[in-house]
């Protein structure tokens, strides 16, 4: 009997502790210490001022949302709205800066990529076995011929795509034709990549020649055939 009471008491204590922890947990999850709307808005403004990247601005915006939610829960909609009217102009201003930051970050990433790609290309070029000048010229000419052939194929695919687009409109957008268009677009993309790869190969060969031989590769252009026009003699 005594044992049963004890276990029941333990069960009640355990359950109470669980509920308390659960409540504390949900409270901790979005814990916001509210002071006054003015002071909280000032705090958000200071943080927005310190934010110097898009990610940091997002954190501030999330914080604003948490404060607004806390005001709504604790004091009702009117105070939350008042808080919002104080904070929104500050965040609008910060939002304008966001685009600036995003552009700056994109530019930095572009410069980093250019730096790494150039060093990678130079490394490849230094490692390349060039062979004789004739070998180099032959390789470039082979690549040029491949590029020309693939470009003709690409043009044909693009023309086919244009025709298919007209046919699709005429046929009332049937699914089978739309799928065919998708396949054609994938082929065009693959062909463009193939051409870009061969062009890249030529770039590396020329770079290798420049680095290893210390001069630019100059390929003599074939002399254009001159058409001789025979003027009709006017009597």
């Amino acid at each position: 009997m005594k044992k049963s009471r004890k276990s029941r008491l333990l069960y009640i204590c355990g359950y109470t502790a669980f509920v308390v922890l659960l409540l504390l947990g949900t409270r901790c999850e979005s814990r916001v210490h509210l002071t006054t709307p003015e002071r909280d808005a000032k705090h958000i403004a200071e943080l927005a001022e310190l934010a110097h990247s898009e990610a940091e601005l997002k954190v501030v915006e999330k914080m604003r949302a948490n404060y607004e939610e806390a005001y709504r829960r604790s004091y009702g909609g009117a105070k939350a709205l008042y808080f919002r009217t104080l904070v929104d102009p500050i965040l609008d201003e910060a939002g304008d800066r966001r685009e600036e930051y995003a552009n700056a970050e994109a530019y930095l990433a572009e410069q980093q990529a250019a730096f790494n790609n150039k060093l990678r290309d130079m490394d490849k070029a230094w490692k390349m076995e060039l062979g004789s000048d004739d070998d180099v010229v032959a390789a470039i000419e082979r690549n040029d011929a491949t590029i020309e052939a693939k470009s003709v194929e690409l043009e044909a695919l693009v023309a086919e795509k244009e025709q298919l687009a007209i046919d699709i409109v005429d046929a009332g957008y049937p699914e089978s034709m739309l799928n065919a268009m998708g396949d054609l677009e994938a082929k065009i993309e693959a062909k463009s990549k193939e051409i870009a790869n061969v062009e890249y190969s030529n770039t590396i060969i020329r770079l290798a020649y420049r680095l290893q031989r210390g001069e630019e590769l100059v390929i003599a252009e074939p002399e254009p055939e001159v058409e001789v026009e025979v003027a009709d003699e006017v009597m």
Partner: protein
Amino acid sequence: MKRVLIIIAVAVVSMACCNSGEGIVIDEQNHENIAYEKSYDLSERVVNATSYEEYKAAAAELREYEEAFRTQIGGDSYLIFLEESNAVLNEI
């Protein structure tokens, strides 16, 4: 014997301390000038290398400085370092 051990221990600790300070440290008072100077000098060395070994050494040093600027300084000076390096590297 004990003294010898102490001396060895001190030597080991001081060597470890010296090694931990190895690597490039960018002067925080003068980082912009260093960015201009080092990016130009090192990129020139990379571009003007006359052998693969020479290129590898110069490129490794350039990459080390790039990492040092990225991790220690960042901001405008890091961007200056990249822009100036790219300008020289793209001459080739």
